[in-house]
């Protein structure tokens, strides 16, 4: 769908690395160029025309994001550099001040480094206990396993909405309900979810949510932290500076502005926020449900064709997203990826920042295909053709 909107696709490539980052439609690029070319100015300061327009564009994106994730208030939307920064803000700005020694945080082995390491550091710093919810035989996270893992000490459940390796969509609505009943904080990394499936923070009782703009056809360098407003009021900023304070005096008194501005010290990524807004408009035009339907149709076809090839090992046939992980028998994943590059097919090889998953998968590295709205059946056919020829892989990679 919509291939003509993506300048990168004028090249003869198959782009299957959308889990890492997505391509940008021309409208997003144009929107950012327009800011740089026609109304560059800082926000929330100037009284001149360009500055007024910048304020309007920048602040307008907050409402777009609010509606996109179905939050209650615009003031619950904080712009960050990306989900990594958002998750670090959540852990060190909020939970560091709330949790006590012995409190338990539940994550799972398929979590991305950005939803593991901050918690491990907090474990080291204040003595919380980080435990992993077990994955099922398909490496997926189920509600029953979540229930089983909860103890009296559990204070936080922090999981991704969609795993970036297995691609399973977690039932955040049920998990959110459990968290509400048991008074457990619910933190969700929605990086692989927001542009692929509908996200509703209220229905899922999500306390904090994080995602990145560049994985949803927006620019790099911008992301979102959503937090329930009463929690944001208690969260401490990790950065202090211009824009986020009411006043400060020589005698040491100061007052900070209210959320979300309190968490956006200094000049924010203005062009990127404006670009993110355009990406959301673009996604809304297509419809997230339609995107998901398209990905699933492609995944089904891809799996069906891959299963016909003898030396292909598939790891996540069942998951309901456009992510497929595989290996070629007795070929190191990076060699496969280098081989496919020869055919201008871009995939990802490695551990995909989920270094704990190797214990369950029994293999450290895999090849990942992650599909998106602009991928086609022809892309899949071209990939399958390359795999069929892979008997000669070493003639190409060596």
């Amino acid at each position: 769908m919509n291939r003509e909107d993506f300048p990168m696709l004028r090249q003869d490539i198959v782009y299957f690395d959308n889990g890492a980052t997505t391509l940008k439609p021309q409208c997003v690029i144009d929107k950012m160029v327009d800011y740089y070319s026609n109304y560059t100015s800082n926000i929330h300061r100037g009284d001149y025309e360009a500055a007024i327009r910048t304020n309007k564009e920048y602040d307008g994106v907050r409402e777009l994001v609010r509606e996109f994730i179905k939050a209650q208030k615009e003031s619950e939307i904080v712009f960050t550099k990306g989900s990594t920064e958002a998750l670090n803000m959540i852990v060190f700005g909020y939970f560091k001040n709330i949790l006590k020694k012995g409190d338990e945080v539940l994550i799972d082995k398929a979590e991305h480094a950005s939803n593991v390491l901050p918690w491990l550091i907090l474990q080291e710093e204040i003595g919380i206990k980080v435990s992993c919810i077990s994955l099922d035989e398909n490496y997926e996270l189920t509600v029953s396993e979540v229930k089983k893992s909860i103890s009296d000490k559990t204070k936080v459940i922090a999981i991704s909405h969609v795993s970036n390796v297995v691609g399973d969509i977690r039932d955040v609505q049920s998990i959110g309900r459990i968290c509400q009943e048991k008074k457990i904080y619910f933190v969700v990394d929605a990086s692989q979810a927001v542009s692929h499936i509908p996200v509703n923070v209220v229905e899922s009782n999500i306390d904090f949510l994080a995602f990145s703009g560049h994985k949803m056809m927006g620019p790099t360098g911008v992301g979102v932290l959503y937090g329930k407003y009463d929690l944001l009021l208690k969260m401490k900023p990790l950065e202090y500076g211009g824009g986020m304070n009411q006043f400060f005096e020589e005698d040491g008194t100061y007052e900070l502005k209210l959320p979300p501005i309190r968490f956006e010290a200094g000049t924010p990524p203005i062009a990127e926020v404006i670009g993110l807004g355009e990406a959301i408009r673009y996604i809304n035009q297509i419809g997230v449900e339609k995107i998901h339907e398209h990905e699933m149709k492609l995944k089904k076809y891809l799996i069906q064709e891959m299963e016909k090839i003898e030396n292909v090992i598939l790891y996540n046939k069942t998951s309901e997203s456009g992510i497929v992980i595989f290996n070629l028998d007795r070929v190191f994943s990076q060699d496969t990826s280098i081989y496919l590059n020869h055919y201008h097919i871009y995939i990802r090889a490695g551990n995909h920042c989920t270094k704990m998953l190797k214990d369950d998968l029994k293999i450290k590295n895999t090849c990942r295909i992650s599909m998106y709205v602009y991928n086609t059946k022809e892309d899949v056919d071209r990939f399958i053709e390359a795999l069929k020829n892979s008997k000669d892989i070493f003639k190409i990679v060596i």
Partner: protein, 146 residues
């Protein structure tokens, strides 16, 4: 035709050393030095062990996950270095590095390692080829220090 001229033979040597590398698997033995080696830009990750007795390289072993270039280079380096005295081993290692980085080297000294003499044409594979080199050099340096 020798290795340098026969591209098919070179590839066979590399593939054979990748699929059946020499001395894969580590040993529980405190007389070995141990070093992990990985590179930031890719996912190769190897553990290596070295045993030197009376200034002679008695054994080198490795384990881990790495690409065809890294694994095969490790295997061929191991074969080239076992049985050599430390000074000769250092010379081979230096010449190997020079070859990979397009410097001057002595092909006679490198033997089978010359299968990588065109690797510098693929800049993204240079780090792969130098992975075992780095680990072995680090262990030899530690030996010197002690």
């Amino acid at each position: 035709m020798n290795i340098v001229e026969d591209k098919e033979l070179r590839r066979e040597i590399i593939v054979d050393n990748y699929q059946h590398p020499m001395n894969r698997g580590l040993v529980e033995d405190s007389t070995y030095l141990k070093e992990n080696t990985n590179n930031e830009s890719c996912i190769d990750n190897l553990d290596m062990q070295l045993k030197v007795v009376n200034d002679k390289i008695e054994d080198i072993r490795f384990d881990g996950e790495a690409c065809a270039i890294s694994t095969s280079a490790t295997s061929i380096l191991i074969r080239s270095l076992i049985g050599k005295d430390v000074m000769t081993a250092r010379k081979i290692l230096q010449n190997y590095r020079n070859m990979i980085e397009e410097g001057e080297y002595d092909p006679e000294l490198l033997g089978e390692l010359v299968v990588y003499d065109e690797l510098s044409k693929q800049p993204n594979r240079i780090k792969c080829a130098l992975l075992p080199y780095q680990a072995i050099c680090k262990m030899l340096n530690r030996l010197d220090e002690s």
